[in-house]
Symmetry: C2
Subunit: 507 residues, 2 copies
């Protein structure tokens, strides 16, 4: 029976202490994988604590993937893929900006980010779409792949999957969306493809190129690049505090609105529930209007109540749901999917069914196994826990420092980035330069603005003229680096402020 000396817990709560000790024992292997934990009642009696305390600790361990609860059988320790301890950034690799600004900046020929060449080596990079690669469930994925190679009939691996994807994977995705996102998705309406970009190319072919698409401004520059490369008319519609601006959307003439309602990039804005219904109303106002719900970041809601997907409140087949595994499984992993309204799924079948599915059968089957066996959900839970702790540490360091009351954070409840507003007399560009001189790379919000509908300049809540703002993509920053990075930022903000004051005095 597990025995922990509750007298050693200091100021920790009983349940928090119990949770932490069991977690550490699972991580260290003291409780081996597969071992059955004592029943809640037995452990409570053994330790002399209340049943509620044990329930709290077990519940947290289950939520974080350390322990599995099996109905009528009890609680079992899960295998832990311990992160290999190797230094981050030891071997520089090509920046894998997935939903990140770096590649997009390059694609737009922008001068940002500044070349890093002769400068101070980077201490922390808040500009990348990098994810914590050491969290990748490498062993579990390798196991899924080996299982496929050993156990699937060869025919299943050698035959082309249906155009919309392997039926088995589509069923696994539908089950995942049901349990994880509360969505009803018919597997027959799911289209699997080699990443979101490939799927958006197909979407243009499915909906027709003669349309105008609207995207959010500020927004994800690669999306602009994709739609431009597809020669569709494109409008950039400014965000207000609740989501994409309805008046500007209406006047844009667009019939498709491509949105990131759960956690917008780059602002972190969560589209309000009432705005979601307004958008569905807009889509129903005229024939052939659609909302593309880009849910790429939804696995990483870190706080607050869940907001239902637009797909799940759409009664009129107006929402096209899109998601990928690039965020959860890493950018090398090229699988995404769409959930189409039924009439569009039929149209896909009849008009685009000549296409081959763009993901190898072997990879589709491995992913299906990975989802079916619970590995994917466990992995996402672990990542969420990791990122929540990382975010908390970063936010605490920022607010506890000397600049604390001059910083404002927005959009930090979900996803792997938030918006940092700085109350400073210096410009965004000045602050970026000063931070770089201290070894911290920052992405200014202005890099994500486009020429918007109407004004020709991005206005509104995230428009020009506000406080200097930075898109803080923190997923690739090491936990231990956080305090040093924040101190460096503070020095940079101080220096830029002094420089701005001197320049003001000279004028």
């Amino acid at each position: 029976m597990l025995t922990y000396s509750l007298g050693d817990r200091g100021e920790e709560s009983l349940y928090g202490y119990l949770y932490r000790r069991i977690k550490e024992d699972i991580e260290s292997g003291a409780i081996p994988a597969g071992e059955r934990l004592p029943s809640k009642r037995a452990l409570a009696e053994h330790l002399g604590v209340s049943l509620v305390t044990v329930e709290g600790a077990y519940g947290q361990l289950v939520a974080e993937g350390y322990v599995s609860a099996k109905p009528r059988r009890g609680f079992f320790a899960n295998p832990v893929d311990r992160p290999a301890t190797r230094p981050r950034r030891s071997a520089p690799v090509a920046a894998p900006a997935v939903h990140g600004p770096v590649a997009a900046g390059v694609a737009h020929g922008s001068a940002w980010p500044p070349a890093a060449s002769a400068e101070k080596p980077l201490l922390a990079d808040f500009t990348g779409g990098e994810v914590a690669a050491e969290l990748f469930p490498y062993r579990a994925w390798a196991r899924a792949m080996r299982d496929v190679l050993s156990h699937e009939p060869e025919r299943a691996l050698l035959c082309e999957s249906p155009s919309m994807g392997s039926v088995r994977l589509r069923e696994a995705l539908a089950a995942h969306l049901r349990s994880f996102r509360g969505m009803e998705a018919d597997p027959a309406c799911i289209v699997v493809g080699a990443g979101a970009q490939t799927l958006y190319n197909l979407l243009v072919q499915l909906l027709g190129r003669g349309r105008r698409f609207a995207v959010e401004d500020p927004g994800y520059p690669r999306l602009t690049s994709i739609y431009r490369a597809n020669d569709v008319e494109l409008s950039h519609v400014p965000l207000d505090g609740a989501g994409i601006g309805m008046a500007a959307l209406r006047s844009s003439g667009a019939s498709v609105a491509h949105l990131v309602p759960s956690h917008q990039f780059p602002t972190g804005l969560v589209t309000s529930v009432s705005r979601r219904y307004e958008l569905l109303g807009w889509a129903n106002d005229a024939e052939g209007r659609y909302v593309v719900e880009d849910d790429y970041d939804c696995e990483f809601r870190l706080a607050g109540r869940p907001i239902p997907s637009m797909q799940s409140i759409d009664a009129s087949e107006r929402v096209i749901y899109a998601n990928t595994f690039a965020r959860s499984m890493g950018p090398a992993f090229r699988v995404g999917y769409l959930v189409l309204p039924a009439h569009l799924a039929r149209r896909f079948q009849s008009e685009l069914g000549f296409y081959s599915c763009t993901v190898s059968s072997m990879e589709q089957l491995a992913l299906a196994r990975f989802i079916e066996g619970g590995d994917f959900e466990r992995h996402v839970r672990r990542m969420r826990t990791h990122y929540r702790a990382l975010r908390d540490r970063l936010l605490a360091a920022l607010s506890d420092g000397p600049w604390g009351d001059r910083l404002r954070v927005e959009g930090a409840d979900a996803g792997l980035h938030f918006l940092l507003r700085v109350d400073s007399a210096a410009t965004e560009a000045d602050l970026v330069r000063a931070a770089r001189a201290e070894g911290v790379a920052l992405a200014p919000l202005s890099a994500f603005r486009q020429a918007s509908v109407g004004s020709g300049r991005c206005a509104g809540a995230f428009g020009e003229g506000g406080a200097p703002s930075f898109v803080m993509s923190y997923a690739g920053v090491g936990r231990d680096v956080v305090p040093h990075a924040v101190r460096a930022l503070e020095r940079a903000f101080d220096a830029a402020e002094r420089e701005a004051a001197r320049a003001g005095a000279r004028r």
Copy 2:
């Protein structure tokens, strides 16, 4: 030392007998993989045969992949992936028509092929793009995949590859093209993507949608579907006996000609060398013209001298080379590549470099290893030997039967299909129906014709009004089935002929 009793060889040639016995011993494992064979001179002396005899047998074994010749070290038995013995067609699977008519027919809403439901079970299907799945080098591929999982640094698998593909894979492809196809391809000009279809979508974005594309008529219907889905202007240009018709191409107004010069689908036509130079001349006549050289079938040249690729005789950066692994590795395998002229590679980098590569890093690395280690070349050699024997058997059965002198075969020197012309009073449709009634599925040439430039109907060597013609895709037909399939075809041709005579008499 290998000892075979040459007196037992019956009527076989000495060299043929020796070749067959060594092959059987390698297949059975009597000569284990990796074992060094005796030197040619030593074996010749030992068996009392001439050196030329041993050289002939060894040469054949090397060509077919049973044996590797290592310079200055000798000859070594290769590992043999013995095909599992299981009945073909035991479990029906979705028709994996890669470069095949089935899916294309469906995509075009054509009534062909006729529904198979209540009819006689299929004895042989000459309509599919199926390949002999049991030839897939399953173990070698699984080994490459496992090696990647075990030996590649995790970072390499978890990071996104460059937009144009993994450098290592592009280098392996360039080396393969050099040794196998005599082509000089700069790895920096290679673009890897999830199959040809994805790459053609990108190609339209690279070259610009405001162009007219020309494709061959008759041709591959999926290509028509892809270009139509991309909203480019499309011309179908009739083939003459040497390739695409130059006068019709010139008058079409197209600036891009998408051709299959090595072994056209569906006619099997090999574009003549002089026509290749004419085409390069056409491309040089005006700014911005290109030839897309679709080389999808080039691994399967079965006879005759090799014809250099158009890419290798192009001095003016006018040829875009395209190939995939769907034919050699099976349709479940979604990897293709383009070799771009240098100026287009630069344009790709600057204008489309924002795209992520559509193939997972893991799969790219496994394929690179598979090519580097010689597995791919061995596999292709094995397949070629298999298909050559299958084709020979089929052609012999056709020409030796009662219909032999009323059949004409075209385009059988390469690829996995040929054209069968039938001197019959019956129509193509009659013959298709009669064959189906005998359990043989045939693809009529007419299913691949489009409304052509000029006449509005496909004219020329492969146009309407000729003898009934069938596209014989034989790769998926079992060797043992061949004689039965040919007998069934002969019964069908007889029946259709009688029916046509009766109908003629009634008129």
